[in-house]
């Protein structure tokens, strides 16, 4: 990856996160955006700059056929920001596995698809190996803060017995769709009705727990997720909602993992309008215990777009197959320090 030839990348999915990914791809000298695909007939055929102003002058049109786009533009990698649930994109994933590319996706359930979709996972893995593809699901959450990061922080710890991670997001500082997505401003009854749809709240959270357990080497015997509303105690007005006390302000989701009856994983996520002290934090119960904390927290959308883009060269460096974020090296970058003015103390 230390050559000067940029990696040729096709992007699929021209939504809010996708547009951020495209912007980063356009900025990076080591990556070259060579094609863009979307499934929406309303977008196909339109110049990319209608959706991403920075694409002006790049002469890129949104295409409809992923395989053709990859082939026509000889892409080595694909970024994929389309849907959250695996059943909604399994055919597209099969197509990508056959295309001989490294695909980095923000599909939440793809973080650890062996949990809910073991047969599809095996099929995709085999297709990848057959066609020299690498498929990876990643993102900031799931994909980094509450699953990968505790694994990355684990090597200095002796005897890790349990992991606890915590994320508090003030949804008021996030885009409107997210505020709506967490149910800000609806009644507790409406909140329960949304839960019942099974398409509400933070997606891929059990996948975080499963990935964390698997990569710590813990054979869980119990894994659960709960969701409940955070009820607002105060009035909060944002550009998108006018929240009253007693209404739902957002979500509180908890994943628990147990091994031999003992809790070894506790992931606690609160995303709501008006949250105080937003932060990310995790603790390894080890000898000695290790806790890391990020005040204010890591912002979601830009971070997911950045992680997708920052995974491309690292994914190309591993063997073909259906991969997890734990399979990637920290960096494949190399530079020469020729001509370095080096002033060591010894």
């Amino acid at each position: 990856m230390s050559t000067n030839v940029p990696i040729r990348v096709v992007h699929t999915g021209v939504g809010p996160v996708g547009c951020r990914v495209i912007n980063l791809l356009l900025e990076r000298p080591d990556l070259e955006l060579v094609g863009v695909v979307d499934a929406d007939p309303q977008k196909i055929g339109h110049p990319l700059e209608e959706y991403v102003p920075d694409a002006k002058g790049k002469n890129l049109k949104i295409e409809g056929n992923t395989t053709a786009c990859i082939k026509d533009h000889q892409a080595a990698a694909v970024t994929h920001t389309t849907v959250s649930y695996l059943p909604d994109c399994i055919d597209h994933l099969r197509e990508l596995a056959r295309a001989g590319v490294a695909m980095v996706s923000s599909t939440e359930e793809l973080l650890y698809p062996w949990l809910r979709h073991p047969k599809w996972s095996q099929e995709i893995d085999e297709l990848c190996k057959q066609h020299g593809s690498r498929l990876l699901g990643t993102g900031i959450n799931p994909g980094f803060l509450m699953d990968l990061l505790p694994v990355l922080a684990n090597p200095p710890a002796e005897r890790v017995r349990a992991v606890r991670a915590e994320r508090v997001v003030n949804a008021a500082t996030r885009r409107g769709p997210l505020q709506k997505k967490v149910g800000a401003g609806i009644t507790p009854e409406e909140f329960q009705a949304r839960i019942a749809t099974g398409k509400f709240g933070h997606v891929g959270y059990c996948e975080s727990g499963a990935l964390l357990a698997a990569k710590m080497g813990w054979k869980l015997d119990f894994l659960s997720e709960t969701i409940e509303p955070v009820i607002s105690q105060k009035s909060v007005k944002t550009d998108f909602v006018d929240l009253k006390p007693g209404q739902a302000a957002g979500i509180h989701q908890v994943v628990l993992g147990k091994m031999g009856g003992k809790e070894v994983i506790n992931l606690d996520l609160k995303m709501y309008v008006g949250a105080d002290d937003p932060h990310d934090a995790f603790t390894l119960d080890s000898d000695p215990p290790i806790s890391w904390r990020c005040d204010h927290g890591v912002a979601g959308d830009p971070a997911t777009a950045a992680i997708v883009v920052n995974s491309i060269d690292r994914l190309l460096a591993v063997t073909p197959g259906l991969k997890t974020v734990a399979d990637l090296p920290a960096s494949v970058k190399t530079v020469s320090f020729k001509g370095l003015d080096f002033v060591p103390y010894y």
Copy 2:
């Protein structure tokens, strides 16, 4: 690495960190300590349990010949905790590179040997590739807190322009040799005399800066390290030193890296007796900025021993050669969740 057969490990270097490594190797079901080597004729031939009580009943004697020990016990991996400077172990490293093993070392200069010893680095890399060996230098510092961790924390960040890392250690809470090593209780004049020996203070610190820069993809044009005493303002009595105001309490070392005249790396390390608010922290100057902090800090000796042991299976998973900590995957562990009691919310 998901087989049930433990990895056969030879350990070299029966010092304070080495004994901790041995203890961890004895504990771990996935690793099997099959041989122990030391260069000290006073130790060779003695039962390991004289130095590591937990080795009682393991029937392990300290041997003197690394190659013979690896061969006799069919070891796949070697842990190596002997010296800090590369020139003091280059012959041993050549021997290990020829032995067809995965060797994890705490030798500080081995973190990024291309900086000070490019010819040896190339020679060792070629020997490794020829003989199917993997050699890795790691540890908590250098090797994790002030170099690898900012690289690991980088993927969610857009446009990282600079990294600042900070480590404050209260040496009073550490073992006696470390308190002496940082110069606690000596006069400022003695401190300067020790600096002049070039064998004083924290070793491998420029290597931290070089690794961080290389793995961020930054071609530095300037890299420097400074060292100065922290002068005690108060009296502090530990089990090992009786510190008076005006004496050196410990060290303050700073590594600076610049690119195009701009500071992009600033590593600030203070290790002294009586330090308030010990902690580890780093900040990425990015969009948005990201800061992580570990209150109390990560303890050095146990962490280095743990990192060495926790790198073995991951090093075996990469291609042969002279490697850096940034080359390793986060985890190569896999578990089956067969029989998992799975209670998802959706």
